[in-house]
Symmetry: C2
Subunit: 98 residues, 2 copies
DNA sequence: ATAACGATTCGATAACTATCGAATTAATTG
DNA sequence: CAATTAATTCGATAGTTATCGAATCGTTAT
């Protein structure tokens, strides 16, 4: 991964609300029951103290950085984290070299 | 580490030039010879395509996020990465939960 | 002492961003 | 079909930031 792409990923995680959003998506994604493992945005909105338009904006940023993948299910939106990418980033950071 | 602090760290790494700067500090820091392990800012300036004032600004940001520690040596500035902090961050990311 | 050099500070500017409310779209339910 | 609900889009705004050139400060070398 080149520096520019890495910087883009960090930028996507650089806002407290967006990072919290990412963590919640990651947490739901790891639920033990498959039926519960789908992360709907609605559930997140109520727990964060920001409006729906802002959530929508943040999700777009996470998707744009490829940290999150989304899928439409009826009128709901399902979010999943891209685990491979976060693994790449952590490797980059722990090696501390390009 | 709480979400707010983590976001601050990611913000510090979110600019391509600043991230590159951080990587160079990390790289020099890992040099095998102790005599060579001191990272002077001057060396970095020439390799990055930005002016000295901007470098100074970026270093301040890295220090402010506690990612980098500095030390004055005569008219030079020595930079070292805070390895413990980056370890904390990578753990946070790989666990994917607060 | 004076020149040169590394680094910082300052002021300005252009670009970007987080957030909001209002309006809109699309899907579901009654 | 009408009403409700989830999500998005739009326009606006206030705040932040990356970068620059010029000026300045401190240290070293001549």
């Amino acid at each position: 991964m080149d520096t520019k792409k890495a910087a883009k990923i960090f930028k996507a995680l650089s806002n407290p609300n967006r990072l919290e959003l990412y963590f919640q998506i990651a947490k739901m994604h790891e639920s033990s029951f498959p039926a519960d493992s789908e992360c709907f945005v609605t559930d997140i909105i109520s727990s964060l103290n920001i409006g729906a338009p802002t959530i929508s904006h943040h999700i777009k940023e996470l998707v744009n950085a490829d940290l999150v993948r989304t899928e439409k299910k009826g009128k709901f939106l399902i979010c999943k984290v891209n685990e491979e990418l976060i693994e790449e980033v952590t490797k980059l950071l722990s090696l501390q070299q390009q």
